[in-house]
């Protein structure tokens, strides 16, 4: 589900199943095929010398994976973990990492008809992280381009070995 495709055929490439979750009151969606699993929040070990959105590393059944704080990534104020806080484990190529979100919501079928291309909101909000917007049931759900989030400059630099 690359962004090139979505520009060619607006909407159509966006349809599919999404895992939706909350950051504050905002609802976001990640294509379900990118999601490996969802785990409850576990203690995160901070790693010195990494960017602020890199919250640290966790133990995922014996494997150490990095965890990013999506709030920090989007420049939202951070918030203490609650009972609902979750880590969504996503995978892109051999990069496996966790995303801390406030709460997961549901798995939704997004139809092409209900989606719009991402609007340019100007300012500091980078539209490049989003595939588009779903607006079914009178609610706005922002569809995340997880590949883009993971492949932006910072993360790429981190992945460089």
């Amino acid at each position: 589900m690359s962004s090139q495709l979505s520009t060619l055929e607006p909407g159509a490439a966006l349809s599919g199943k999404y895992l939706t979750f909350f950051l504050g009151a905002e609802e976001y969606g990640i294509a379900i095929l990118k999601v490996r699993e969802i785990i409850g929040i576990v203690p995160v070990t901070p790693v010195p010398g990494t960017p602020s959105f890199m919250q640290g590393v966790i133990n995922l059944r014996g494997k150490i994976i990095p965890v990013i704080d999506l709030r920090a990534k989007f420049g939202m104020p951070t918030q203490a973990a609650s009972r609902e806080t979750c880590i969504i484990v996503v995978r892109r190529l051999d990069l496996e990492l966790g995303i801390v979100v406030d709460a997961v919501s549901e798995v939704r079928n997004v139809a092409a008809a209900e989606t719009d291309a991402m609007l340019d909101l100007g300012g500091e909000i980078s539209a490049e992280y989003f595939l588009g917007i779903s607006k079914a049931d009178g609610k706005v759900r922002l569809l995340l381009d997880i590949d883009r989030i993971l492949s932006t400059e910072d993360v790429l630099q981190l992945a460089k070995r």
Partner: protein, 762 residues
């Protein structure tokens, strides 16, 4: 042979292989094999198809019959002949038509007869349409065979009649020949074929594996190795050529006798040195030395093959003498050699019961077991698991714990491989150095079944090769000097591996002249590597030879020569979290003692707390830790801190500052100073407290994090959380950088240590 008559008839090839491993005394197994051979000939399901194969099989069966009935004069010889016949029968090539008339029991039917159905003209390394997967597998297998064969050949040099060793070498060439010709790699096939022919003659007792023959065999192995490398290079897309000397050696292998003549003539004027002496006397008086034609008429082949040894004037003159010389040359090795032979044959048998597993699967398995251990310890630590509350549950948890621990031990042992192949290479190096420098050196290795982590093997091999070469080349004095010093003319280089206190120790000792500490010190002072006014202990002086600057001087080599590349040796060993120590006694010799952790996956670590964070410091890097007095700490220019410990000034760094941890102890006298040593220098690290020592499994922080300065990886602690393992080397770099006024996190992140730490398996 442990197979009882199985319902399915054995394939001919399988019989041949089993025969090769059979002992003449194992009558049960041999009877079974004989019957199986009979089945091959008679049974309609038998695998013997063509008449010539049938004939060979029958001949082999007859040999076994003779052996089993006790008619054969020499059981070993009869078995060997049967093996050879069975092998011939399994060879993919059709025997030549003319061979029907042959008396197969003839003294020397070298398998030249199965000779190259190989295309004439230039042999090819890799066929135009290679089956990459098959060739890849073959290369792995062939390389293993080469290693085993090389070891066996060296055993043979000491004990030319060791049948097991001959078979090992034979099998190596035989396998390579069979598979490579099937895969169309004629270059390998041809070489292996001719070497095999020579080996067959040795195995049949026609010639002994000494002198020229032994050299030829070793050169054959070397060339085989080089050709295999060339094949590999070709597969990688490089334009590889046949290794140099290919044609020459293949020719020599075809006609060792002519080679012997040539060698003897060369050696004759220069009163041949004993170990490289002339070949042993012939079995029978020689017919004319006839050049061995390619796949020529069999009669001619036979006469040439039977031609025992060259009768150049020199060879005649040194007739029986060389044998005595050879027997005398490696004295007192007898106790060692049989043991080695036994282990090598055990190893080759062990190969057949092993399974190749991809390392990533293995690592994953080990991870999961590690996780199981943690999960179990969490369960065991649960307050509900209390003997007084629920003895039944407690008993069950305890039982599971035992199983988990055993599983963990076993999973750890999966990564371990014996040092044997590494040591075998070294045997060869000592031999070569000794020959080249005209010394008598005996190489004794013990404990080559000691196991270390497979990831460490490659890293340790290089330093060992270097040090063994040094020991043989410079450590052991020349024969004349030894005699003058009243020592045995034969020098000894001894390599011993053993376990000691959770580590593997490899001791390399020689009985040479020892290190000259005065000259080392003088040299180091002259080079400006040490302060001339400082008094150094003996071991400190010896450690000087590891300094990089020291190694570049060449005239140090005549002291005892350990100058070149010793810094690399130490670097590799330290990369493995190991240590190297030297003890030396003038005139008596030198001992290098290398101490390595059992495995890289497990780090012996000290867990320290800083604020609410825990870090793991590898124990090998910790010199000492103590709670400082205020009087011990002083500051420099208000920024840098120094700590005085037993008269030595050490820079002090605060871990909480480096890692920006809040809530940590900031008052030095209330914290704890851990003094780190990384080979270059020491530094003190301020932490809150020590939480204890623990063995941890080092892991990568995951592809997303990449490399982090001062952190070599992570480990999962007892409570399931991740603890970061500190890398003392880059920690010092980081600390110095931050003191240089670049304490920004970004600087931290990019101030990466230049080399990947071996501790973390990516």
């Amino acid at each position: 042979m442990n197979k009882k008559a199985s319902p399915a008839p054995l394939e001919l090839g399988e019989i041949a292989v089993q025969l090769m491993q059979a002992q003449a005394s194992e009558t049960d197994a041999l009877t079974e094999l004989r019957d199986a051979l009979g089945h091959c000939v008679d049974g309609e399901a038998g695998s013997a198809s063509s008449p010539s194969v049938k004939r060979l099989v029958s001949a082999a069966k007859a040999k076994l019959d003779g052996l089993l009935s006790g008619e054969a004069a020499d059981a070993e010889q009869a078995l060997a002949a049967a093996v050879r016949l069975a092998c011939l029968a399994t060879s993919p090539e059709e025997p030549k038509a003319g061979e029907g008339d042959l008396e197969w029991e003839a003294a020397a039917p070298s398998p030249t007869s199965v000779a190259p159905s190989l295309a004439p003209g230039k042999p090819t390394l890799v066929p135009p349409d290679p089956d990459l997967e098959l060739i890849g597998e073959f290369l792995t297998e062939a390389n293993e065979h080469v290693v085993n064969a090389e070891a066996a050949l060296l055993t043979l040099e000491q004990q030319p009649d060791d049948a097991a060793a001959v078979n090992t070498v034979f099998r190596a060439f035989h396998t390579v020949k069979g598979v490579s010709s099937m895969l169309g790699m004629t270059a390998l096939a041809e070489l292996a074929h001719h070497a095999e022919s020579l080996l067959a003659r040795i195995r049949d007792g026609e010639v002994r594996c000494t002198g020229v023959y032994a050299n030829l065999c070793l050169r054959g192995i070397d060339l085989l190795k080089a050709t295999l490398d060339a094949v590999q290079a070709q597969l990688k897309g490089q334009d590889a050529k046949l290794p140099a000397g290919y044609a020459e050696l293949v020719h020599a292998l075809q006609n060792p006798e002519a080679e012997a003549v040539a060698r003897e003539r060369e050696a004759a004027p220069a009163a041949a040195p004993p170990p490289a002496a002339a070949p042993p006397p012939a079995v029978a008086p020689p017919p004319a030395v006839a050049p061995l034609p390619e796949p020529g008429p069999v009669r001619a082949v036979l006469s040439a093959a039977a031609a025992p040894l060259a009768v150049g004037p020199a060879a005649a003159a040194s007739g029986p003498v060389p044998v005595a010389a050879l027997a005398a040359a490696p004295p007192s090795i007898e106790g060692e050699a049989p043991a080695r032979a036994a282990t090598s044959s055990a190893a080759s048998q062990g190969d057949e019961t092993s399974v190749r597993v991809r390392t990533d699967r293995l690592d994953r398995l080990i991870d999961m077991v590690g996780e199981l251990v943690i999960a179990h310890s969490m369960l065991a630590a649960d307050p509900r698991n209390d003997v007084s509350r629920d003895p039944e549950l407690s008993r069950k948890v305890g039982h599971a714990g035992k199983i988990v621990r055993e599983l963990q031990d076993m999973s750890m042992s999966l990564r371990m491989v014996p040092l044997r192949p590494t040591f075998q290479k070294l045997t060869r190096i000592v031999r070569d150095v000794a020959k080249k420098s005209d010394k008598l050196i005996q190489f004794v290795s013990t404990g080559d079944d000691t196991e270390i982590d497979r990831n460490m093997v490659d890293v340790i091999a290089e330093p060992l090769i270097h040090m063994v070469r040094n020991a043989a080349d410079h450590g052991v004095e020349s024969t004349a000097a030894r005699v003058a010093a009243g020592k045995s003319p034969t020098g000894t280089v001894r390599l011993a591996a053993y376990h000691s206190g959770g580590s593997v120790v490899i001791d390399l000792s020689d009985d040479g002249g020892g290190l000259d500490r005065d000259r080392i010190l003088a040299k180091a002072t002259q080079k400006g590597l040490v302060d001339p006014n400082k008094s150094l202990s003996e071991s400190e002086i010896y450690q000087l030879i590891f300094l990089p600057g020291f190694s570049t001087t060449e005239n140090v080599t005549d002291i005892s020569g350990r100058g070149v590349g010793m810094d690399v040796v130490r670097r590799n060993i330290e990369q493995l979290k190991g240590r190297i120590e030297i003890t030396s006694e003038r005139g008596k010799g030198t001992v290098f003692s290398i101490r390595l952790p059992l495995t890289l996956a497990i780090t012996d670590g000290m867990i320290v707390r800083v604020g609410s964070e825990r870090y793991i410091i590898p124990t090998v890097n910790i010199a000492v830790n103590f709670r400082p007095d205020a009087s011990q700490v002083s500051t420099v220019a208000g920024r840098g801190e120094l700590i005085l410990l037993r008269g030595e000034l050490i820079p002090l760094f605060r871990l909480h500052q480096l890692f920006k941890v809040s809530g940590a102890v900031t008052e030095v006298t209330r914290g704890l100073v851990v003094v780190l040593r990384d080979g270059v220098g020491s530094c003190g690290l301020l932490v809150d407290e020590l939480l204890g020592q623990q063995q941890v499994v080092a892991k990568s922080l995951g592809a997303g994090v990449g490399k982090v300065a001062a952190v070599s990886g992570g480990a999962i602690l007892g409570d399931g959380r991740v603890g970061l393992i500190l890398d003392p080397g880059s920690l010092v770099t980081l600390a110095k950088e931050s003191r240089a006024g670049r304490p920004q996190p970004e600087a931290v992140r990019h101030g990466v240590s230049p080399e990947p730490s071996p501790m973390v398996q990516a």
